[in-house]
Subunit: 454 residues, 2 copies
């Protein structure tokens, strides 16, 4: 029952307190940037807007994105983020374009067949003749004839629902990670029959670039397994054909939109849930092969997209770094790995932070609890990414920027934070000579963005 006696302190020196607060703020992402007068003005506006949003009835990053989306669209911060020039570095080709476009445009094209599977999913196939039954599809119907027979709107709605995770009641329909990943994989397979049709893929990529460009994305790194594609008569094109086609479409897009800097493809080997797959270390022989043959591939691993701490999968983060990954996809678990975190920082290996993906796939519900808040407060290299926007009912990158800036960064994240995040998204993995050109182009757009909005 004794009090023990510590040092007398008296009133802490307010100047020292102020210094410490500024010292801490300087450590966060963008905390060391010096802002121009115009930037400072916009920064103050943003701060005021954020305070208003934090005082509102619903704090949007605490809501599920499916419910928050229409409210985010009304936010002045969101509308500002849409205008900000940026790059998209972690986005899967299978989920590049909105499901709405697939249904309203692609499924209305001639020769589109549909089949309803026993497990309440769908398959699509373009063919100039009645397709053969497959193990998962016994009965193919021509969509055009089906639509003629049934009420159109109903057919419509039910098709969109197969191609995205969106639902009015996410907590009820997806009680746990297993259920939501199952739906994820079904939607992925359902879309495949549409997207791998060669003429569709060509339009799909162009459409995807347009959707990104509308959100002021000027540079893209697209993750793609480069699947084989097919023609109406059943002809198959290999991956090289797909890669060339991607180059052609991108070139055409750049001709039409010269302020778009360009796109690169990251060939992805593994798609799906990290938790249920093998670990990186399991594939160590294969992953070492290129280097042993004298070739060199840059790796962009998904790693640490898990909340199961201490498991083998959780260990993927360290292994991704040991295999010299260029960036870490998700890195959800990185904040809990002090040594891996140091390695990643020392080598400037950026974490691709995908807030909406992590929330929809049920790693975290209230985004204020996203572990990247730790990384952001320490100025760890980060890029904001959208992962599978079409599946999440999102588009572009501004929804994810909103969640990261308002929810994860909180009130202390500033315009400096945004500037560094946007610059990172251009700067991250380009070779030096491209980097300088891209950066100059981005800087011009950034300056225009500031003078238009302050």
């Amino acid at each position: 029952m004794l009090w023990f006696v510590g040092e007398s302190v008296g009133m802490p020196d307010p100047a020292r307190r102020d210094l410490l607060m500024r010292e801490e703020a300087s450590r966060q992402t963008g905390g060391l940037l010096t802002l121009t007068a115009a930037e400072q003005k916009l920064d103050a506006d943003l701060h005021r807007l954020k305070e208003q949003e934090m005082a509102a009835t619903h704090f949007l990053p605490a809501l599920h994105f499916f419910k928050a989306k229409p409210l985010i669209e009304k936010s002045a911060i969101y509308r500002l983020l849409q205008k900000m020039p940026k790059g998209a570095l972690h986005i899967h080709s299978s989920s590049l374009v909105s499901a709405e476009w697939l249904v309203k445009n692609v499924t209305y094209r001639p020769h589109c067949y549909i089949c309803f599977t026993w497990d309440n999913s769908v398959r699509f196939l373009f063919s100039n003749q009645q397709p053969f039954p497959r193990w998962d599809c016994f009965y193919w119907q021509l969509l055009e004839s089906l639509r003629a027979r049934i009420e159109d709107n109903a057919g419509f709605d039910s098709l969109i629902q197969h191609l995205t995770l969106f639902t009015e009641n996410p907590d009820g329909e997806y009680p746990n990670q297993d259920v939501v990943w199952e739906k994820f994989e079904k939607a992925f397979i359902a879309a495949a029959g549409l997207i791998t049709h060669a003429p569709v893929l060509r339009d799909y990529i162009y459409q995807g670039l347009e959707e990104l460009h509308r959100d002021n994305i000027m540079y893209l790194e697209l993750r793609s397994g480069l699947s084989w594609t097919y023609e109406l008569d059943g002809t198959i094109h290999d991956k090289i054909w797909t890669l060339k086609m991607f180059q052609e479409v991108t070139s055409k897009f750049k001709q039409n939109y010269p302020e778009f800097f360009g796109a690169r493809i990251i060939i992805s080997v593994h798609v799906g849930r990290e938790n249920s797959g093998r670990t990186l270390w399991y594939f160590r022989e294969a992953l070492s092969l290129p280097a042993e043959l004298g070739a060199s591939l840059p790796y962009f691993f998904h790693a640490g997209e898990t909340d199961d701490e201490g498991t083998d999968v959780d260990q993927n983060i360290l292994d991704a770094l040991l295999f010299n990954t260029s960036r870490i996809g998700h890195g959800y678990a990185l904040a809990h790995h002090p040594l891996a975190k140091e390695l990643s920082r020392k080598r400037n290996v950026a974490v691709e932070l995908c807030p909406i993906s992590n929330q929809v796939l049920k790693l975290v519900s209230d985004l204020r609890n996203h572990p990247a808040a730790v990384l952001m407060s320490e100025g760890h290299p980060l890029v904001i990414s959208s992962d599978d926007p079409a599946l999440f009912g999102s588009t572009g990158l501004s929804y994810d920027f909103y969640e990261a800036f308002v929810g994860i960064g909180g009130l202390k994240a500033s315009l400096g934070t945004l500037k560094e995040l946007a610059a990172n998204s251009i700067y991250s993995s380009l070779p030096a000579h491209f980097k300088d050109r891209a950066f100059a182009m981005w800087q011009n757009k950034w300056d225009a963005f500031i003078s238009d909005n302050s």
Copy 2:
């Protein structure tokens, strides 16, 4: 579309990988402790048990505690944690004893009056005559007569419900922080009329010590506002009287249970929700007063019990450190404050981690996302605490240890982690001469705990 070429790596050296993994594991709480052979055996058992619990249908720390509680009680890990010797350092006197005891014991005592308020709450008062109406209570009824008139069980249930936050449907009844805090304050006020009756308080403290002792808690630091207490005839005792009574009861308890080391009181000034109160800095003059008068009080602030990053309240953590706090209550936001985190570590200022409190009061739902996972992975000084166990329907400290060890620590938290956490809970704030005695006593009990369970 160019690949850029990095360094060739080839196969990472498995020995180096192993070294890095062990180096990282050594940084976590307890990671540097050398375990005896018996401890290693128990550690391996715990690891196996944890793997089983992680593979089960429900991972308990991801569930709301109100749903997880009966399942935790079946866990072999939980039953082991109950046997582990430990200390309780952050527990409020108003929530020390289970609501069930209050209802089944205290409200059955003679002269107990009850009043139902307009806002669906209750007040209690012991009195040897019909109490006067008060602004919040117009009509006092003698519980004994009321019980004689109505069906007993029904009255029972509804009384318990007023004294705890427990409900079958926490997500429905507490949609946000405001609603749950409102209920929190109502329950606090409802219990006050029972607990501040002097003879009840005497039994209450003894009962509280027994409940803790049953969970193998051997040392207690109790946070108390030391309210005035009253007798049947309306006599009032001041805070000094309450403090002396607390000393008497503790001494009596120690006579009956000599293996109980002792209890201290931390006088708390501020109870309630940090978010809605004033900041520490606002009270800076008052807080500096003792030191300026040449006296010295150790402070034990609540700070950073918030997820509103970057607000004034969020800044309380740094201020608590500037006012030389002895420990940080909650420190939920500490992981997002790199500089405050360094200060706290350098000065060995432990964070009082209250997982169940943070979950029930809606800072975090899935405890794997609790920011203390970062602190634990870095070996930041921590003590596990229960905060307001009676309000949360918990008792002792083992439920919170379970959530921290299985949920926050994950698979990598080991017996070493438990040992350091348990030792911290004894070691944290005692003066040196007490510390050594308490620690020797704890070490004996720990050794017995190991030999009984390995």
